[in-house]
Every structure is written in C-alpha cells, then in structure tokens.
Symmetry: C2
Amino acid sequence: MRLGEGVEWSLHCLLTLGWLGSDEPVSTARLAGIFELPPAYLNKRLQTLVRAGVLSSTPGARGGFRLARSPEKITVMEVVAAIEGPEYAFRCTEIRQRGAGKDRPQDFQRQCVITTAMRKAELAWRRELASQTLADLLAAAPDAAAERTRDWFADIG
Amino acid sequence: MRLGEGVEWSLHCLLTLGWLGSDEPVSTARLAGIFELPPAYLNKRLQTLVRAGVLSSTPGARGGFRLARSPEKITVMEVVAAIEGPEYAFRCTEIRQRGAGKDRPQDFQRQCVITTAMRKAELAWRRELASQTLADLLAAAPDAAAERTRDWFADIG
C-alpha cells in the first residue's frame, strides 16, 4: 500500500504558501522550483487542490496559487482525499459470493466482517488526519523552515 | 491508495480455516475453489503467510495449510503486514532537502512535520488492525457463513 508522491508535494506546497502568508498568488514554476519538482506534474496536483477548494488560482502572467482558506480551516485529510480520491484503501470484491456462496444471495445482506474490520481501521486513520490542520503543521515546523522559504522567494524576486 | 487483493484473499482463507477448525491441512486448490480464486496466485499469498508464522504448511499430496496459532493469537494487522510489507503508506522523499534546502543539511535534523502527521495517522490505523483478531472476525461473522463453508468442504469430500 502506498500513497502517491502527490500527497507529499501538495502538503509541502501548502506549508510554503502558509509561510509566505501573502495575498500574492505564487506560480507553479516557483512552487516547483523551491523543491526541484517537475512543474507540469505539480501543476496537475495544484489544480486538483483548487477543485477541492483548498487552493484558489489566479490566471495570467502574474497568476498562480494561494490558500483558499486560512490554515486553521484546511485539514490534512482534505488534502489526502483530494489527491488520492475518496475510495477506501481496502476494496471488497465480495469474493464470499463466488464459488460456495454463488447460489446463496440471502446470506449476504450484511456487510462482510472483513470489510467492517478494515473500514474501522481506515476510519481511525481518517479521523487522525482530519484532526490535524495546516495551522498545526505550520506551528510544529521549525522557524528555520519558514525563514528559508521566505528568503528563497525574496531572492528570486 | 489501495490495498492489494491479497489482503482480502488471505483474510477470507483464514476465516475458512478457522471455521473448518480441523487439524487436517487444506490444500490451495480447495481454498482457491471455495472462492473461485486463481490457485497459483493464491498459493503465493499463503506461502507468504507461512513465512510470517500465521499459517503452517504440510508438503505432499495430502498436504496444505492450517492456522499456525489459535485465532485469538492472529491479528488482522499481522496479516496485512505480511501481505503488504512493513513500509508506511506515506513515503517521505525528503523534498524539503532539495532546491532551497539543498545546502542547509543543518536544518533537517528533525523529522519533517508532514511525515510526523502522516505517521501518526498510520499508527492509528495499525493500532486498530492490531486490536482485531481472527477470533473476533469469526465471532462477528454470521453462522450461515460457517455452515456454508463446512458444507462445501464436506461435499467435495
């Protein structure tokens, strides 16, 4: 089981936008540049976050992205769900209804106990991610990270 | 993010072995047959569970698999870890140390706050899976499932 790199990229970009804290939109090229990420792939993720209402985008030569809401109102769960999709990691394919179960639909009214067990764990994971906001991450990060980010953006003008 | 089908297959086979509850090993062909799964692929998963100490295997024409321990001592987490591997779903590639962070190794002594947040959620997921045993799943499943399984194995002789 693996989460895509898009989650890591997105959260780092959100922290960056949080540290810059400005109303000026930041371009994909600059967000990609600070982490040496491929701009086109990163842009796809940023557009996904716009559709999820986490970022807002401004078109044009001086356009780019900014946080759509204050960091207190953006949860890690929203970012993960936007990038990875709403599906559960465990996908029940109802193998219990094949073979020996094939002719007994009456036995399968209730959710499979395996699915219930796996869902319970995924809900614990989601609950934990939903309890953490971008503001929490910004507060937990070292001051040096915020300074490095602001310095880099100031240097590139 | 997606868990492989091997988790679903493995847990259903473990429930089946729990319901049969016998000391007779059950062959891959029969375990595959009850769910109409591909025997060769299923066998790879069962061998993985043997290596993890969840199943024991008996070689030979009348050989097969049985639970290596009582259902109370097999957790869902062990099965998931055996099949999916021990890695975390979120893999930090340390993008913070690229670009603007490149020449500042002194800034990265502590774990990235994003990794910490993601780990915390994965630990909640693991904890929940570790708290559920095969015995819990057997107890939660409907009686009809146990009967259907025993009937099918009795019929194929």
